[in-house]
């Protein structure tokens, strides 16, 4: 379980990077001179995905070298949880989406990012629970 969670997060990080650039795309182009509100979602997702992958790789290094202290696991776990909140925030309170229910960013990108964010938070919490017995150094 301890090794699986960071690997899951690496895959989710890749999804955050690739998704909004492909099948989770936002509204394209400009609409008669008006920029769609969802334009910056792919950039934010890209950054969040990269940070998540870095944090997960760091966690894997801690696990495989056996040098991870309890503090290190707590810090990485909290970092993951924050990234999860950011992923949920990107289509909601950070960037936002187009108003119409039928725009792709609203129909597909938003729910997908919310679910991805929720999964990241869950893996962070599970990771914190699974590592709670680590001795404090």
């Amino acid at each position: 379980m301890k090794k699986i969670l960071p690997i899951v997060n690496i895959i989710i990080g890749a999804l955050l990077i690739i998704g909004p650039q492909t099948f989770l795309h936002v509204c394209k182009g400009s609409m008669m001179g008006m920029t769609p509100p969802c334009k910056d979602i792919p950039t934010w997702s890209l950054v969040a995905g990269i940070i998540l992958i870095i944090v997960s790789l760091a966690k894997l290094v801690l696990i495989f070298t056996g040098k991870g202290s309890k503090v290190a696991y707590i810090v990485t776990g909290l970092a993951e949880a924050v990234i999860g909140v950011v992923a949920i925030g990107i289509p909601t309170f950070i960037v936002g989406t187009c108003k119409s229910q039928h725009m792709h960013c609203h129909m597909v990108t938003k729910p997908a990012l919310i679910i991805i964010g929720a999964v990241i938070i869950i893996t962070a919490v599970v990771g914190l629970i699974v590592n709670k017995d680590k001795k404090v150094e």
């Binding site: 008669m32 008006m34 108003k99 119409s100 229910q101």
Partner: protein, 400 residues
């Protein structure tokens, strides 16, 4: 210290050996996930068709000859379209004096644009306020007085259309006040905007000014796209339909029951297949779980023998095995129900846009029942699958 129990021992066994027990929980999770998803899809399709049938309100629909598919597109698939009768159909119907007609109401179709002058792409349906019977019974939210909802400058929107905070939506650079919102149908009507003839003319002229010409020389106050007809009680709809065809040329007469009925027929096979697949999945799950529990119980045979030796009765052993199965089933069921919820509800709008059939997700008691039935099957299938093994292992432990 808490009291110990067989349930607590069962839970402890699972906790200390997650790898061994994960497979069973996963099987139940897959079963409930797939089952709930399948049932929601089946009920959504059936509900969508039923609701559309009720919403039509009419027995017959007249459209210009050759435009039956377009009419279906508007009503069932939500594809914005426009078409018009070349003749003055209402006068022709009046002159034909066809027996059995109770009510008549005409509609005029326009579409909005994907360009920046419109907030959203929709189907416009111009109505005759005095004769219309298709939308009033379906008003869900009223923003003005009831008698004013189809006044000049007002629009009534389908359930999928978001109403901005200021209550105004822009089409062809003209702002229109939202007077009411309709109940959901899961069909194309959810993307429609309804307005009276005068407002339609305002809209038409606004579209013209933006370079959109729907029909040369068309008068939105008089031009008709379709006519909805209800027949008197006891009248044969087919006979009325034949009479219309014999008196008026260039008209397609659609029995609304037939239009929905043919869609429904086409889907019946799909729905039956879904039920069969669900049935097969339940049986398969039971078989796989039974085999899995049998293996697992055999693996732990020595532990159960030990328990019998120290004074645990056959019934208590059975209870232990079934408790383990029950706990795993509960975990699997909850996970499966959560996954199904997350799979369908956040993406409902996308699914509705992607399927070309009425799709109305159940709510209220119907939805609760679906969850209950699925959850119940998920919870009992584990213990059922483990029952044979529980009986076998509790009995076969006596020494020679």
């Amino acid at each position: 210290m808490k009291k110990r129990s067989i349930g607590a021992l069962a839970y402890k066994n699972i906790q200390n050996n997650k790898g061994r027990y994960f497979k069973q929980a996963a099987m139940v999770m897959v079963l409930t996930w797939t089952m709930l998803l399948g049932l929601i899809i089946i009920v959504s399709i059936s509900s969508g068709l039923e609701r559309l049938r009720d919403r039509m309100g009419a027995d017959l629909m007249l459209v210009p000859l050759g435009y039956e598919r377009s009419a279906e597109g508007i009503l069932i698939k939500g594809e914005p379209k426009y078409f018009y009768f070349e003749q003055d159909i209402m006068t022709q119907l009046e002159n034909a004096d066809i027996e059995g007609i109770e009510r008549l109401s005409s509609q005029f179709y326009l579409t909005s644009s994907n360009q920046g002058c419109c907030d959203i792409p929709v189907q416009f349906i111009g109505l005759d306020k005095d004769s219309d019977f298709t939308i009033k019974p379906w008003i869900k939210t009223l923003y003005v007085n009831e008698k004013d909802y189809l006044n000049d400058g007002y629009i009534v929107v389908g359930s999928s259309i978001d109403v901005p905070e200021d209550g105004k939506i822009r089409f062809y650079d003209q702002y229109f006040t939202v007077a009411a919102k309709l109940d959901q149908t899961g069909s194309g009507l959810d993307n429609a905007v309804f307005l009276n003839r005068t407002t339609t003319k305002t809209l038409y002229e606004a579209a013209l000014s933006k370079g959109f010409n729907f029909m040369d020389g068309c008068d939105p106050l008089k031009t008709v796209s379709s006519v909805f007809i209800t027949v008197k009680d006891g009248t044969d709809v087919k006979r009325v339909s034949q009479q219309i065809r014999s008196h008026i040329d260039g008209v397609q007469v659609i029995a609304t029951d037939g239009m929905i009925g043919s869609t429904q027929q086409g889907l019946e096979g799909f729905i039956s297949l879904m039920y069969i697949l669900i049935g097969i999945l339940i049986v398969l799950s039971f078989v796989i779980l039974s085999l899995s529990f049998k293996l697992q119980v055999t693996e732990r045979k020595d532990d159960y023998k030990l328990m019998r030796t120290i004074g645990v009765t056959k019934g208590e052993i059975r209870k232990l095995v079934l408790s383990q199965a029950f706990i795993l089933s509960i975990i699997g069921s909850i996970l499966g129900l959560v996954l199904a919820t997350v799979s369908i509800f956040p993406f409902y709008t996308a699914i509705n846009a992607a399927v070309s059939i009425p799709f109305l997700i159940p709510s209220g008691i119907k939805l609760v029942l679906l969850y209950l039935v699925t959850g119940l099957i998920g919870i009992i299938i584990g213990p059922l699958g483990a029952l044979g093994s529980a009986i076998r292992i509790s009995g076969g432990l006596e020494e020679r």
